[in-house]
Amino acid sequence: MITAPSIIGDLAVETDGLVKTFGAARAVDGVNLTIPRGSLYGVLGPNGAGKTTTIRILATLLRPDGGTARVLGHDVVREAAAVRKLVSLTGQFASVDTDLTAEENLLLLARLLGHSRRRARRRAGELLAAFDLTGAARDQAARMSGGMRRKLDLAASIIVTPDLLFLDEPTTGLDPRSRSALWEIVRGIVADGTTVLLTTQYLDEADKLADRIAVIDHGRVIAAGTRGELKNSVGSAGIRIRLLDPAHRDRARDLIADHQIVVHDEPDPAVISARIPAQQRAETAGELAAHALGRLTGAGIGVSDFTLGQPSLDEVFLALTGRQATAAQPEQAQSAPAETKTIR
């Protein structure tokens, strides 16, 4: 397991051996997290891994059965009120009131947070404009699309800019356009100085958004670090080669492969990828590339496209858990026991 390098300054989240059980199921089974302030931290894991339960503990909605958790320096159990003043939660299922209009949802929360009636109205207007929801301000939330409701949910979470924002699977069930719109908003929130703790079961989401990632499975953190660290932990960078003629693929594969290089056929019939599986330093990738291109050129096999890069998070996940990441269904109710996971 990779540990985070020493952190300067204070931490947004620090948990030690966090445990939460539901009956016999240990939904969270000794989670250790160290999340620096100012980052976008991704918690990646399959359905039922314990992501939502962890977030609910950190947001003071659940009491842990064991271990400790400090959020922005405050203990989540003993100083829950102090934590609530600094954090904001966007739950897994949009928690806006679907009977109310978009504007009324924001007004209600702004009033609860202590804004005057006038200030609340102005703030709601600002947020609706910033999130491109002005046209829907007077629409009942029930009549808004899933993507718009999600945006409204996010807007509701930053009425007063929190120091730490929990985003529990913010894009589950959204279409690609709504997803990228939401990602833009999340990046904007981080740029404004808010620390974001995001859970996701989508590897590309963690890859695109998060500075640091913890991979969680069966209620435990099985790896944590920067994207690069995680990827390096499963092997060196690899190469992808697209051949001019798919008919040459078998020969190309035999030419490149040797006792320490593994070559795969990719789904695209003209593409092969090659990797040295053992722990290697980054420069090995260059040698691998030189070796592969040299052999192909020598044999007169044309190459149309070539990329050199780190393994994908998919491969990281596979290497860490021994199975493919699942990314289809939204996570079941947070009390779902960890063993309901399916292997796909």
Binding site: F93, S95, D97, D99, L112, L113, E126, V160, I185
Partner: protein, 262 residues
């Protein structure tokens, strides 16, 4: 994207302001989903018309005569039946995740529940007013006059607000709004019918009269009748108030305990 941050951190709303904000939420829900007043309007109208004309001839010889006896009971019955929805709406908030947000905010914890209850009191007043208004139109003439009627409505609404806590407790325990509604009605039917609402308990067999005599609903109806008739004694009113107080004493702390644990 335009500036979206708001570093200004006002002091969060106090207990009273937060509760009122949640009461405002209840009113907005009624404004946008007026269908939810269906029960508040339907039950009082149905009960007043149905029981008066159905039982009047058989039980009292005339519908007019029975109305003078029955109407205070109908008032209590209709308002008490409407209370179940306190638990239903609370449960809906829990199952949709709306409460997760409220509970992760720096807001006085009981505020969502108390605010919803304030909204519910508005519903009880509407239901009670409908019964009395309809009764007057049908020929009900209480000796206690307007003051008696207002006092009767007040004590019924007080009792109903107290009983709401029982459904709120149920709403925290059960898994779906529908479960709250069906269990609520299953409890309410025997509790309201085994009382002095429809008939004089003197006509009942001994065991049933025993139940009726200790039934808090009977105490409520006795006080309501007396207030309407202008003959209320202090003990009559005190019994009804005590029944309400007992309900709050049992279910409010139970609600608080369950809510903290959620």
């Amino acid at each position: 994207m335009t500036a979206i941050s708001c570093r200004e951190r006002p002091a969060p709303a106090g207990p009273a302001a937060a509760s009122l904000a949640f009461a405002w939420r209840s009113l907005l829900k009624i404004k946008h989903v007026p269908e939810q007043l269906g029960d508040v309007i339907g039950i009082p109208v149905l009960f007043t018309l149905l029981f008066t004309y159905l039982f009047g001839g058989a039980l009292a010889g005339s519908t007019h005569g029975y109305l003078q006896f029955l109407l205070p009971g109908t008032l209590a019955l209709a308002v008490v039946f409407v209370t179940v929805y306190s638990g239903v709406t609370l449960n809906a908030d829990l199952t949709t995740g709306a409460f997760d947000r409220f509970r992760s905010m720096p807001v006085w914890r009981p505020a969502p529940i108390l605010g919803a209850l304030i909204g519910d009191i508005g519903r009880y007043l509407l239901a009670g007013g409908l019964v009395v208004g309809l009764g007057l139109a049908m020929g009900y003439r209480p000796a206690g006059g307007p003051a008696g009627m207002l006092a009767a409505i007040a004590i019924v609404v007080l009792f109903a607000s107290a009983l709401s806590w029982a459904w709120i407790t149920l709403g925290l325990v059960l898994r779906s709004p529908n479960a709250v509604m069906s269990i609520g009605f299953v409890i309410l039917f025997p509790v309201t019918f085994m009382s002095n609402i429809f008939v004089n308990p003197a006509t009942m067999p001994g065991w049933l009269r025993g139940i009726s005599d200790v039934n808090p609903v009977s105490h409520l109806v006795t006080a309501t009748r007396a207030l309407m008739a202008g003959t209320a004694t202090t003990p009559q009113v005190l019994w009804a108030v005590a029944a309400a107080a007992a309900l709050i004493a049992v279910f409010a702390p139970l609600t608080a305990l369950l809510y903290q644990r959620k």
